[in-house]
Symmetry: C2
Subunit: 360 residues, 2 copies
């Protein structure tokens, strides 16, 4: 029977020591019970559990983590939650982590490099077991090297950086815009614009390349001025449409860097009295949920953001389980979802084909 220590001061939370005293066992026993160890007799265990309930015990994970030299916290840094793509990604991510008993330490950078650096350092101090990072635009590869040097597992999402053997979850950008462009070409469009930030990094580069390849295969020229340089925002989408409509050799359709650019484009078309799908065609990229209910509903290349997030989480958890394995990689195969924003080019609509049917 353990020596009895004075009761813990009123007001402070009970600890395993208090439970031990109440259940008349040692604190080691309490700890074992809490961990569900099979080597504790059933009735001792239930006695302990009752005492714990009675005292309103709450497990102190911080203390346990300190002793175990481990944690179940995953740091996640997102740069633009305002984009539903990232919000949906985060939802999938968090859900998968939670299912596996991990907890999400979330930080938002707003594409700011200094903020990004700060939050990463903070997550390190918090002993995060792993990191999921969608690098802000312009993140130097050197930062990634430094994180690796921290010896904390990190998974990069969406935006590849460097060509190092880092764990990565993203989508096949080139294939995505290829499919989108092919779709437009098959609907009779010959002059197709591409709306995105020129020199916007590897993702932009790949998406533009898929566009160019599909144009080439359909023997369509790509005039320089069809590559319209806009920020990847809703405003950007508006500006892009304005620019496209002003061209002398005016395109009849546009591939957008992502869905929110496409939304901006839809908005501007409306403002100009044009209807997307008949007067001009728009295709987005990402497959965010809103696309099904925009005006008109958006044809887009879906990477299924929530699933991408879940896969990212799973990849990181795999890495935690097997620290030594070679670089992990998940490339979502994007899927073209045809809705009403893309239609047949002037005069090319086959007699049989009606406006693409609504999904509803």
């Amino acid at each position: 029977m353990p020596a009895r220590s004075p009761p813990s001061p009123r007001g402070s939370r009970p600890t395993i020591t208090d439970i031990a005293r109440a259940a008349d066992v040692s604190k080691s026993t309490v700890s074992l019970v809490l961990q569900g160890s099979p080597s504790i007799k059933a009735d001792t265990a239930s006695r302990v559990r009752e005492a714990a309930d009675a005292l309103g015990y709450v497990y102190n994970r911080g203390a346990a983590d300190l002793r175990r030299q481990a944690s179940n916290t995953i740091g996640t840094v997102i740069n633009d939650l305002t984009n539903p793509f990232f919000a949906e990604l985060l939802v999938g991510l968090e859900r998968s982590l939670a299912e596996h008993g991990y907890v999400t330490l979330m930080a938002h950078t707003g594409e700011d490099l200094a903020t990004q650096q700060r939050v990463l350092a903070s997550m390190r101090e918090h002993q995060a077991a792993g990191l999921i990072l969608c690098p802000a635009f312009g993140t130097p590869e050197e930062l990634l090297q430094r994180i690796l040097w921290w010896r904390i597992p990190v998974l990069i999402v969406v935006r590849p950086v460097g060509d190092e053997g880092l764990d990565f979850a993203g989508s096949d950008n080139e294939a995505g815009t290829y499919a989108a462009t092919k779709h437009l070409a098959e609907r009779g469009h010959r002059r197709i614009a591409f709306l995105g930030r020129v020199g916007g990094g590897p993702v932009y580069e790949l998406r533009r390349r898929g566009f160019a390849r599909a144009m080439g295969e359909h023997v369509l020229a790509v005039e320089d001025e069809w590559l319209i340089d806009i920020p990847p925002t809703r405003e950007g989408g508006r500006a892009g449409v304005r620019a496209a409509l002003a061209l002398r050799n005016r395109p009849t359709a546009a591939i957008c860097y992502n869905d929110i650019v496409a939304f901006g484009a839809l908005s501007e078309l409306g403002e100009q009295g044009l209807r997307a799908g008949s007067d001009f065609s728009i295709v987005g990229f990402d497959g965010i949920a809103d696309g099904a209910h925009s005006n008109p509903p958006l044809t887009t290349v879906s990477v299924n953001p929530a699933r991408l997030g879940a896969s990212a989480a799973d990849l990181l958890l795999t890495r935690l389980r097997e620290p030594g394995s070679p670089p992990l990689r998940y490339l979502a195969q994007p899927q073209l979802i045809v809705r009403q924003s893309s239609g047949w080019a002037e005069g090319t609509k086959p007699a049989s084909a009606a406006t693409p049917p609504s999904e509803h």
Copy 2:
């Protein structure tokens, strides 16, 4: 001079003890330096700092928290990140918390009560210093009482629960829909529908009441069938518009429970070949960023979600500073933003008034 202990094993992180050894001081001194204590001589301090850098020291916040019996983690539980309103709220929240040196432990419930309970318990185990909670639909008041009993400061956002003296940050829902309805009435609309979940809790109730009050003041009847019962989603918005258009005494405008319902409504109007703003008017609620770039841009009652989030964070931080103060409360005064989705009712447009000017 402290007794020299063996060097820490290769591979494990250096601790203040290692730094102490390297800088030839005691670990107490190192700790004081790290905290920026003024009572350490400047050159000792810099010697310590150099040693820390050299060894690649990283502060172990978990250990410190254990000893200090405090943490700088704030648990935040959101139920629908897929709604940009909450995403923007979270951004404002996280930013404000980060600015004050706090870190956000984020969890997503998807309106699921069991999940909500689980994540709250987990946050308690993680010794969160405070909680920010947007209660899932149907959260029993009893749960809130239990959290209070945990003696951990909690701030409720957006959805009031009970009439207890809980800290709360939200918006003036009644005033919001009042302004929206008044706006439509002034534009000549006599038959106005309200799209939302009937019996959807206090927020719905207040918004409906503001609607009813404004209708009354303009001596407009509200027929029961104009209170259209739909889920607060994009699909709901679509269904709501379909229902409204099918009524024998067909409304000419609708107030939507929130912006995403309004987006669904815009989408359905488009699908029916109608243009919001001229053929039918739509007003949303929340003021999410996308509203400025929908098709057409959305007239809405803005509560400025990001600012609301920031205020919520500030309120909780105030509570942490002054545990004893009376209940804190922030009610955002919503602001009507008139864009193109609301126009003059048939035949009532004054000669002078053009279509409301675009914001751009």
